[in-house]
């Protein structure tokens, strides 16, 4: 995978204001044309999972595989839900609280975990994810245990459309923050650590510190995704925060392309949104997903995004050579 540092090259596609203004307008008027609440619901879930998956990849860019990421979504969800349901806090305050607790836990475990690298880090974070779920089941009085927590106070009532605009704004801000970090000094430093921690330390990079910063930011956004999800869905259960849920995030990232910022967004869209839309195919979704993953892993090492990029640059090359050969 090639880590591109867009701030060094001339402004890339991501920075074209016209494209983003157009996309924003389309997204703003979209609910006017969609009458089905179910469809709006799918889009809302897509927004939540985009925040979750992009923040998952942010931690990955620092060379860590955070297999507790869905668990951190759970921390945000349960903390916020419990604070609102049992302590009467308004969701507008309980959501930031849940997100901050998720970030705090991320920082706390970051210190001991920063000693471990690669597969050892992945393993310890996997166990931590399991620990979170055990805690949820152990404190069933507060969390509802395996049966799930119901009747969580909603953030914006029970209609889907207000949430659409809420999640649209939240996703835009989250992506802006994470993209800004990715293309600036912190992102460069994360990628440097991921490529060689030895070389990174030799130029003065504090590896532990930057890995903890990556985890903290990733967990913050996982917490935001979880907490908003809890007050949108009003019901939360442990399955959404399990190890399998994290593996799904990993699959979204790998299929979309880990080397690019929009990779996880493409992955969520292809493997979560599209199968949801094709409801008749639903029971085949696991098989189709598995087939897509295999195809990507064997044929597209840079994911779908990488393939599209290669194709575009191939087209550009072709166009250039045409033009030069046309010239006398």
């Amino acid at each position: 995978m090639k880590w591109k540092l867009p701030y060094l090259s001339t402004r890339g596609n991501m920075a074209k204001p016209g494209f983003w203004a157009g996309l924003l307008i389309i997204l703003l008027v979209l609910p006017l044309f969609i009458k089905s609440p179910y469809l709006i619901h799918i889009i809302n879930m897509t927004f939540i999972y985009i925040i979750l998956t992009v923040s998952f990849r942010t931690i990955m860019t620092s060379g860590q595989l955070p297999l507790a990421h869905a668990g951190f979504m759970g921390i945000g969800a349960y903390v916020s839900a419990i604070a609102a349901k049992w302590f009467g806090l308004t969701p507008w305050l309980s959501i930031p609280l849940g997100a901050l607790v998720a970030m705090g836990v991320g920082i706390l475990i970051g210190y001991p975990f920063a000693r471990l690298r690669a597969v050892y880090y992945a393993m310890i974070s996997l166990f931590f994810g399991m620990l979170i779920l055990s805690a949820v089941k152990a404190f069933a009085k507060w969390t509802g245990g395996a049966a799930g927590l119901t009747a969580i106070p909603p953030l914006l009532g029970f209609s889907k459309v207000p949430y659409y605009y809420f999640f649209l704004g939240l996703t835009a801000v989250s992506l802006l923050v994470l993209y800004r970090l990715e293309i600036s000094r912190p992102g460069v430093t994360w990628k440097a650590i991921a490529q060689s921690h030895l070389v990174a330390a030799s130029v003065g990079i504090n590896e532990a510190r930057y890995r903890i910063i990556a985890s903290a930011i990733g967990c913050l956004f996982a917490g935001i995704a979880g907490a908003t999800y809890a007050h949108y869905n009003t019901v939360v259960g442990t399955t959404s925060f399990s190890f399998m849920a994290t593996i799904m995030l990993l699959i979204y990232v790998v299929v979309g392309g880990v080397g690019s910022f929009i990779g996880p967004i493409v992955g969520v869209f292809l493997l979560m949104t599209v199968p949801e839309l094709l409801r008749e195919l639903r029971e085949y979704v696991p098989y189709i997903s598995a087939a897509i993953v295999l195809i990507v892993v064997f044929l597209m090492p840079k994911g779908v995004t990488g393939l599209v990029k290669s194709f575009l640059s191939w087209l550009a090359e072709l166009w250039k050579s045409r033009r030069t050969s046309d010239a006398p």
């Binding site: 540092l5 701030y7 000094r185 990079i205």
Partner: protein, 253 residues
């Protein structure tokens, strides 16, 4: 003295890799650290830069005790280094490698990067400029857009030096800079080392290649973790202990 090692020892669970090693390096010197394979030369570098913990002894750099400092802290004080086999940020281009290495001076906070403040943008612009200067100085500017992993061996080493220069080092430690290089590549490497020297950077290098050692002001010879000789190259060449270390004890045979 810029760097002083006082009776430094390193034990690897029973094995004594470095034994009561003393060494002093003055500012502006170019010193060669030589010795047979396994003598402990690279271990000395790893002890100075904090990659390995020191078992016994003391390391003073520029008046500060750095014995227990971690690698990034040692770099912050002004010690740059390269590694054997020249690892690099292989998915970054040559320019990106050096830009990423400008972590310390100027330093930007995560928040200023997130908010893209004027100071942050100024810092990044000056970093890019300085990185280009370093690449020009070392003759890497022609390959600045090559990916690290596509670089030939000789360029990899020079890139390692370029990266180390981003730390703005007072002391540069080069671990076998010409290992496995062709004659042409050695010329490239020597040219780079010479130019860094002219900038007033103190250099200690581990080397087997005598052509490189001839450049040094002074050499320190190690064998089995101990210092067995020190002085000018001619002095060391005549030293019996050194001959014994390299060729074996002729009388014992």
């Amino acid at each position: 003295m810029l760097l002083e090692l006082h009776k430094v020892s390193k034990h690897f669970s029973g094995l004594v890799a470095v034994d009561n090693f003393d060494m002093s390096i003055g500012a502006g010197e170019l010193v060669g650290l030589i010795g047979p394979n396994g003598a402990g030369k690279s271990t000395i570098f790893n002890l100075i830069t904090g990659v390995l913990p020191v078992t016994k002894g003391k390391i003073i750099f520029d008046g500060e005790d750095i014995t227990d400092k971690r690698p990034h802290e040692v770099a912050e004080l002004g010690v740059g280094r390269t590694f054997q086999l020249n690892p690099l940020f292989s998915d970054f281009t040559v320019l990106e490698n050096v830009v990423a290495s400008f972590h310390l001076r100027p330093k930007s906070s995560v928040l200023s990067a997130l908010l893209n403040t004027t100071t942050y943008r100024k810092h990044e612009a000056s970093i890019k400029e300085q990185a280009m200067e370093i690449l020009k100085l070392l003759g890497l500017d022609k390959v600045k857009d090559e990916l690290g992993k596509h670089l030939p061996h000789g360029h990899r080493l020079v890139l390692g030096i370029a990266r180390a220069l981003a730390v703005k080092p007072k002391l540069l430690l080069l671990d076998e800079p010409t290992r496995g290089m062709s004659l042409e590549e050695i010329d490239l490497a020597l040219g780079a080392i010479e130019r860094v020297c002219q900038q007033g950077v103190t250099i200690v290098l581990v080397e087997h290649n005598m052509e490189v050692i001839d450049f040094c002001d002074r050499v320190v010879v190690m064998s089995f973790g101990r210092k067995i000789a020190e002085g000018s190259i001619d002095q060391v060449r005549k030293n019996e202990e050194v001959i014994k270390a390299y060729l074996g004890d002729i009388n014992a045979a």
